[in-house]
C-alpha cells in the first residue's frame, strides 16, 4: 500500500499532494497528530498571552497593557488553554492511542472523527478571528452574565466567543460519541472491560462526562446568543432574566470539565508509572472504580464555584460536602500510584519524571482545593490570586504535566524516534522550578489580598515581590518550553531510532511498528490479560495465570 508520506516531496505538486493527504485523512493517527499540533500551537499563543500579563504585573503601576487589553488577554488565555489546548491535546492523544491500545484498526466512525477535528480547529480560528473583527472578547473565560449581554458588551467579540465555543463543543461531543462507541464496540477479542488499559478506562469515563457536561454549555451558549442577537431575555436582568442561571449552567459544565481534562492525565500516569517502575499497577480495579466515582460526584459539586453568591447555608453545605467527598476517590488513586512505585525498579526517563511531577503538583493543588471547598474559607479567598494559584496547580501541574508525560511516552510510537533524554530532563526540571515559582507565590499574593484579573496595582501593598517572583517563574517556564520545542525539532531531524517497543512496555500499541501502518495491526491481537505484551514476552509466566 502506498501512503502519501511515501511520495518524496521534491516539487510543489508533491507538497500539495501531501497536504491533500493530511486535509482529507480519516485515519485516527493522522487526526490525532493534527489535534496535538493544534494544541501545541495554541499552547504557544496562550503562553504568550500569559507572559504579556506577567510583564504588565511585574511592577506596580505597570504601563505595558491597557486595562482593556489586559481583560482581553486573560479571557483569551483562559478560553484558549481550556478549550484549544487541553481539549485538543487530550483528544489528540486519545485519538492516536485508544484504537491502538484496544487492538482496533481505527475509531468507530472515522469520518465523524475528521469532522470533530475540523470543528475544533474552526472553533479556535473563530476565537482568534475576533481580533480581526475589532477586538478580542474581554468577558473572562466563564463570561458571567449580565456582562455578556448586548447592553454591556456591544462589540461582536462576545459573539465570536460564543460561536467558537459552540462549534468546538459540537466537535467535542462528536468525539465523545466516537470514543465511547470505539471503546465499547471495537475491542480486540478477549479484551473484556476488566482488561482495558487504564488510560482507555479513563477515556471511557471522560467520554461520558463530555456527553452530559458539554450539552448544558451548548444550551447556555445558545441562550446567550439568542439574548444577544434576537432579543431574548434568558440572562437579561432588566427584563427579569437571571444572571445566576448562567452561573449555574456554566459551572454545571465547568466543574465536570475540570475532570474531563484531569481524568486523561490520571490515565496517562497509570500507564507510565507501572512501565517505569517495572511493576503491575497496584489495585487496577480500585483505580477504575474510584474514577467512576469521581465522574459521578463531579456532577454534584458545581456550586462550589458560587459560594460567594450567597445561595443559602443549606446549599453551601451540600456543595462543600460533595466537594470534600471527591478527595476520597482521588486520594485512593494517589495511594494506588504510590503503592505501584513502592519497591519498584524505577527508571527516571522523561515520561516518569513528568508523572512524578504530576503526583506532587496535583496533590498540592488538591490540598488547596480542599481548603477552597470549605465555604467559609472560600469567602475569604474567592476571586483572589489564591484561587488562580490553586487551579493552575490542578490544571497545569495536573493536566499539562500528565500531557507532557504522554508526549514523551508515546512520541517514539508516533514518529519512530526518541526525544533527547538530557534535553527532556532539562525541560522537566526547568518547568518544575518555573512552575512552582510562578504559581506558588500566587497563593501568597492572594492571601495578601490581591484580587485576580486586576490589570495593575498600586505600590506599597507588599505585592511587588510576589508578582516579580511569579513573572520570573513564567519566563523560566517559557525557556523550558522552548527547550521542549528544540527537543522535538532535533528528534524529528536526527533522533535516535526507537524501534517498536523502546520502553519495554505491556500494552498493545507497542506490539506494532513505530509509527504503525495505516491499518495498525497485521493480525488483530488476542488478549488474555491486562498486559498482553507481557504474556507475549513471557510465555512461561503469563499474567492470565494470576489475574
Amino acid at each position: 500500500m502506498t501512503t502519501v508520506a511515501d511520495i518524496p516531496a521534491r516539487s510543489s505538486v508533491d507538497i500539495t499532494m501531501r497536504l491533500h493527504g493530511w486535509v482529507t485523512t480519516v485515519d485516527h493517527k493522522r487526526l490525532g497528530i493534527m489535534y496535538i499540533v493544534t494544541g501545541l500551537v495554541f499552547f504557544i499563543v496562550g503562553g504568550i498571552e500569559a507572559l504579556l500579563m506577567r510583564w504588565q504585573l511585574f511592577t506596580s503601576d505597570g504601563q505595558v497593557l491597557s486595562g482593556t487589553t489586559f481583560n482581553q488577554m486573560f479571557t483569551m488565555h483562559g478560553t484558549t488553554m481550556i478549550f484549544f489546548v487541553a481539549m485538543p491535546m487530550i483528544f489528540g492523544i486519545a485519538n492516536y492511542v485508544v484504537p491502538l491500545m484496544i487492538g482496533a484498526r481505527d475509531m468507530a466512525f472515522p469520518r465523524l472523527n475528521a469532522f470533530s477535528f475540523w470543528m475544533s480547529l474552526l472553533g479556535g480560528v473563530l476565537l482568534y478571528g475576533s481580533f480581526f473583527a475589532g477586538g478580542a472578547p474581554d468577558v473572562g473565560w466563564f463570561a458571567y452574565a449580565p456582562l455578556t449581554e448586548y447592553t454591556f458588551a456591544r462589540s461582536t467579540a462576545t459573539d465570536y466567543w460564543i460561536l467558537s465555543l459552540l462549534i468546538s463543543g459540537v466537535g467535542t461531543i462528536a468525539t465523545a460519541i466516537n470514543l465511547s462507541a470505539t471503546i465499547l464496540a471495537l475491542r480486540a477479542p478477549g479484551m473484556a472491560l476488566g482488561k482495558l488499559p487504564l488510560f482507555v478506562w479513563m477515556m471511557l469515563i471522560d467520554a461520558f462526562l463530555v456527553l452530559f457536561a458539554l450539552p448544558p454549555l451548548t444550551a447556555a451558549l445558545v441562550m446567550l446568543l439568542l439574548d444577544r442577537q434576537l432579543g431574548a431575555h434568558f440572562f437579561d436582568v432588566q427584563a427579569g432574566g437571571s444572571a445566576l442561571l448562567w452561573q449555574h449552567l456554566f459551572w454545571f459544565f465547568g466543574h465536570p470539565e475540570v475532570y474531563i481534562v484531569a481524568l486523561p492525565a490520571f490515565g496517562i500516569i497509570s500507564e507510565v508509572i507501572p512501565v517505569f517502575a517495572r511493576k503491575v499497577i497496584f489495585g487496577y480495579e480500585s483505580v477504575a472504580a474510584a474514577s467512576v466515582a469521581i465522574g459521578f460526584i463531579s456532577f454534584g459539586v458545581w456550586a462550589h464555584h458560587m459560594f460567594a453568591v450567597g445561595l443559602s447555608p443549606g446549599l453551601d453545605s451540600f456543595f462543600a460536602g460533595a466537594s470534600l467527598l471527591i478527595a476520597v476517590p482521588t486520594g485512593i488513586k494517589v495511594f494506588n500510584w504510590l503503592a505501584t512505585l513502592y519497591g519498584g525498579r524505577i527508571r527516571f526517563d522523561a515520561p516518569m519524571l513528568f508523572s512524578l511531577g504530576f503526583l506532587g503538583m496535583f496533590v498540592f493543588g488538591g490540598l488547596t482545593g480542599i481548603m477552597l471547598a470549605a465555604a467559609p474559607i472560600d469567602w475569604q479567598f474567592t476571586d483572589s490570586y489564591f484561587v488562580v494559584g490553586h487551579f493552575h496547580y490542578v490544571l497545569f501541574g495536573g493536566t499539562v504535566f500528565g500531557l507532557m508525560a504522554a508526549f514523551y511516552y508515546w512520541w517514539p510510537k508516533m514518529t519512530g524516534r526518541m526525544l533527547g533524554r538530557r534535553l527532556g530532563q532539562w525541560h522537566f526540571w526547568l518547568l518544575l522550578i518555573g512552575f512552582n515559582l510562578t504559581f506558588g507565590p500566587m497563593h501568597v499574593s492572594g492571601l495578601l489580598g490581591m484580587p485576580r484579573r486586576i490589570y495593575t496595582y498600586q505600590a506599597g501593598q507588599g505585592w511587588e515581590l510576589w508578582n516579580q517572583l511569579t513573572t520570573i517563574g513564567a519566563v523560566i517556564q517559557g525557556i523550558a518550553m522552548a527547550l521542549f520545542i528544540l527537543n522535538v525539532l532535533i528528534s524529528l531531524r536526527r533522533g535516535e531510532l526507537a524501534g517498536d517497543d523502546p520502553w519495554d512496555a505491556w500494552t498493545l500499541e507497542w506490539a506494532t511498528t513505530s509509527p504503525p501502518a495505516e491499518y495498525n495491526f497485521e493480525t488483530i491481537p488476542e488478549v488474555r490479560s491486562r498486559r498482553p505484551l507481557w504474556d507475549l514476552k513471557h510465555p512461561d509466566d503469563p499474567d492470565w495465570k494470576h489475574e
Partner: protein, 206 residues
C-alpha cells in the same frame, strides 16, 4: 515510512477460542445511544430554563392565557402514531419486505410533516397575538424549547427522506436495516421529548 514487511505476524496465544459470539455492543448502536444521551442533557438544560422562569411574567401573555391544550394533544397524537409507524418500518425492513418499509416510512414522514404544520399554525397564532421571543420570559423560553424540539423533528424528517430515497432506488437494501433502526431510535427519542414537553409546558405549566 515503515512498511508491513518489518512487522511479523505474532502468535497471539491459543488457536482455540478464536470463535467470537455476536458482540453485545455494536458501534452504530453505541454511537446513537451516546448521541441521545448528550441530547437528554441538552433538552434537560432547556427545560430547566423553562421551569426556572415559569410564572415569572406579569400581564396577559402567560402560558395559561396563550397555550391551547387540544392543539398540543393533536400534535401528541401525530407524533406518537409516527413513532409506531417507524417501528413498523424497521420491523418490515428487518423481515425483508422492502415495499412495506417504504410505505411505513413515507407515512411517518407525513405524520411528522403534520406535526410541523400544526406547530407552525400554533406559532402563527401566538405571534399574531403578540407573543414573540422578545416579548417576555415565557416567549423567550417557550419558543426556544419548542423551537429546538421542532428543529429535531425537522432533522429526523430529513434523515427519513434520505433513507426513503435510498430505499426506493436500491434493489438490495439489507445494509439499510441498521440505519433505519437507528433513525427510529432517534425518532422515538424526539417523541419522548415531546411527551415531556406536553407535561411540562402544556399541562403542568399552565
Amino acid at each position: 515510512m515503515t512498511t508491513a514487511d518489518s512487522m511479523s505476524p505474532r502468535d497471539w496465544g491459543s488457536a482455540s477460542g478464536t470463535a467470537h459470539a455476536e458482540p453485545v455492543f455494536q458501534a452504530g448502536r453505541c454511537g446513537m445511544v451516546a448521541f441521545l444521551a448528550s441530547e437528554v442533557a441538552f433538552f434537560g438544560t432547556l427545560i430547566v430554563a423553562y421551569l426556572k422562569y415559569l410564572g415569572a411574567d406579569n400581564g396577559e401573555l402567560t402560558p395559561a392565557n396563550m397555550l391551547h391544550l387540544p392543539t398540543a394533544l393533536v400534535n401528541t397524537a401525530l407524533l406518537v402514531s409516527s413513532s409506531i409507524t417507524i417501528a413498523w418500518a424497521a420491523t418490515a425492513l428487518a423481515r425483508g419486505s422492502h415495499k412495506a418499509a417504504c410505505r411505513w416510512l413515507a407515512l411517518t414522514v407525513l405524520l411528522g410533516l403534520g406535526f410541523l404544520g400544526v406547530t407552525a399554525s400554533e406559532w402563527y397564532d401566538l405571534i399574531s397575538r403578540g407573543l414573540t421571543l422578545r416579548t417576555n420570559l415565557f416567549g423567550t423560553t417557550y419558543f426556544t424549547l419548542i423551537g429546538f424540539h421542532a428543529g429535531h423533528v425537522t432533522l429526523g424528517l430529513l434523515a427519513m427522506i434520505c433513507l426513503l430515497a435510498i430505499l426506493s432506488s436500491q434493489k438490495q437494501v439489507g445494509f439499510l436495516a441498521e440505519p433505519v433502526e437507528l433513525v427510529s431510535w432517534y425518532w422515538h427519542f424526539v417523541d419522548g421529548v415531546w411527551i415531556v414537553l406536553l407535561l411540562v409546558v402544556y399541562i403542568l405549566g399552565r
